[in-house]
């Protein structure tokens, strides 16, 4: 990206002033190398987000920002309903409430490695992954609505996991304000056999070793130490979320003129928060958040069943579950005043600082765990929300590495079998139904997640706590 036009506020914060139809500036958090490597489209998309009605303070981009659709991926923007603010389906994305949850295992890596192959094979049999994979659960219409209202809480009531899990999930495992009646028959149909499935693309279930701890105190509060084995699950709301995104994006494009909204680009489709369509989207989107939370809860149950066979002594309590494609109503201080804002995070993670009431009491003093997924051959990270991050970008941080090249380019450079073999030589077992899928997700196709995390840490968005490296990866 060309950096002319940006003012460097600090080493890790760049601001492009509001010009033309922009209502607020663009602020990007990154070091200079990440800024230069960023696609020009990030500035273009973030600038257009800055034109939307009711946007507050700035259109933000995280260090892993890249070209998305409508909003950049890694984009954060907050809107005030009282100032004509909007909610945008493109600002949330198609994979509503896609996120990461991380579980302790109580095992050390040496114990895990003794059963690594057996565990990898058992997981690949038990976890439905990849295109066209289906779960065992079939929901009646009434059960589907209950799931869309109840989220992970519904799943626990159905026997998937423990009540103790819920306090470690954002929103206590249940997003309030969900309106299953706003979810179309088609969206529910698309979810019919997808409960408890991982999906494809960059979604995975990964067994990881804690390779490094950067902040002993916070790590201790989170219950992680060097050489511990944890498991991370990255997936979202599956077909239901995709269909809701598809349908509301279209409705918002068509209805924009009737709301007096001039869209700088169709892909920025949005509706006033205080409109029938805005309310209806929020209700459907919250239902999709519950679908994602229920989905990750069911996968957790399947994971625990596998561990019960391979490591009967292991217990897998939940460390935390964060979503990175959402729009949530939050209170934030802006210019000395508390305001109720609709915060869009698209490919960005909530990162609330210490003491925030939404953080589970056991973790509150340490700040919210921020779970950052890497690519399968590289590292993932656990960070913690900071006081400073609350002021910088509404308590938000990056969500992953971000792609460095297209899928097409990746398949030209690598073959899935070679990638799998090379990783196996390095002690990382990949299990995937598709070699092409593995090639598209090759580690080299992603940016260096360490640089992204370092920039988030240095900018003050979130604090680095621990580094995780993969041992087994079930890839969708």
């Amino acid at each position: 990206m060309d950096l002319s036009g940006f003012e460097r506020i600090s080493e890790f914060e760049w601001q492009a002033p509001a010009t033309g139809a922009m209502r607020v500036p663009v602020v990007i958090f990154a070091d200079e190398a990440l800024m230069r490597a960023m696609d020009e489209k990030v500035r273009e998309q973030a600038s257009r987000v800055a034109m939307l009605p009711g946007i507050v303070r700035a259109s933000y981009a995280m260090p892993d920002a890249h070209w998305g659709y409508g909003f950049p991926i890694g984009g954060v923007a907050a809107f005030d309903a009282d100032e004509g603010g909007v909610v945008s389906a493109g600002g949330v994305g198609f994979d509503i409430s896609c996120g990461v949850r991380c579980l302790h295992t109580g095992l050390k890596s040496a114990e895990l490695l003794r059963q690594q192959v057996r565990l990898a094979d058992a997981l690949s049999r038990a976890i439905p992954a990849g295109v066209g994979s289906t779960g065992e659960l079939r929901l009646s219409a009434a059960e589907m609505d209950d799931m869309l209202t109840g989220g992970a809480r519904w799943a626990v009531e159905r026997g998937y996991g423990d009540a103790a899990d819920l306090e470690r999930v954002e929103e206590g495992g249940q997003m309030k304000g969900a309106m299953p009646q706003q979810v179309s028959v088609q969206a529910k149909q698309r979810q019919r056999d997808e409960m408890g499935t991982l999906g494809s693309g960059n979604h995975y279930l990964e067994v990881q070793r804690v390779a490094e701890v950067y902040d002993e105190k916070i790590a201790a509060a989170y219950g992680v130490a060097v050489d511990d084995v944890v498991v991370s699950i990255h997936c979202g709301s599956r077909g239901l979320g995709h269909q809701i995104g598809t349908e509301f994006l279209r409705q918002m494009v068509v209805a924009a003129p009737s709301h007096g909204i001039v869209l700088p680009d169709r892909e920025l489709a949005c509706a006033p928060i205080e409109s029938e369509l805005g309310r209806s989207y929020l209700g459907a989107m919250r239902a999709a958040i519950n679908c994602a939370l229920a989905n990750r809860q069911i996968l957790t149950h399947l994971l625990r069943q596998v561990f019960a066979q391979v490591f009967p002594q292991a217990r897998l309590p939940l460390l935390y579950d964060v979503s990175h494609n959402t729009c949530k109503v939050e209170e934030h201080e802006v210019d000395g005043r508390q305001r109720r804002l609709y915060v869009h995070r698209k490919g960005a993670t909530r990162a609330f600082g210490p003491g925030h009431p939404d953080i589970p009491s056991a973790l509150r003093a340490a700040g919210q765990p921020v779970l950052i997924g890497g690519s399968m051959g590289t590292s993932s990270f656990i960070l913690a929300g900071t006081e400073r991050g609350m002021k910088l970008a509404y308590g938000s941080a990056c969500h992953g590495a971000g792609r460095a090249m297209s899928r097409h380019e990746a398949t030209r450079r690598w073959h899935g079998r070679e990638v799998t073999d090379e990783l196996a030589e390095r002690g990382i077992l990949i299990r995937s139904p598709s070699f092409r899928g593995v090639a598209e997700e090759a580690p080299g196709a992603y940016k260096d997640v360490s640089a992204v995390v370092d920039a988030a840490d240095s900018a003050g968005l979130a604090r680095k706590v621990a580094k995780l490296v993969p041992l087994v990866c079930v890839k969708g």
Binding site: G68, S200, Q243, T246, L249, R266, E267, R436
Partner: protein, 138 residues
Amino acid sequence: MGHWEHFAHESDIGVRGLGASCAEAFEQAALALTAIVTDPAGVSSVDKVELSCEAPDMELLLADWLNAVIYEMATRHMLFSRYEVRLADGCLDAIAWGEPVELSRHRPAVEPKGATYTALSVRHREDGSWLAQCVVDV
């Protein structure tokens, strides 16, 4: 003779159909969609599904068309290797031929989530051919 191609997008993938007519460009764009998942040459055309949609303009119609195909792929667990599209007055009627996904044979790489309005374009080109394209979220 129509053909399809993919174009690069940082996180997702662009589908582009080119044809002598707009309808053919739509057919080719849908083939490009199949090719995100698997090689269309490996998909038999034994079952047929009829689809229709309508939209206020051609660009929205393209997105609707691709989303209709994605919906059928997802809910029927099918892949399609041949499409026949008829366009008239903002309405699209189509037949898609394909077969149920067979994991061991098709080895599907990634599932399309939805057609987006990013890089969305339907246009008549200077050489008289038609182009239909957009980015698909995967």
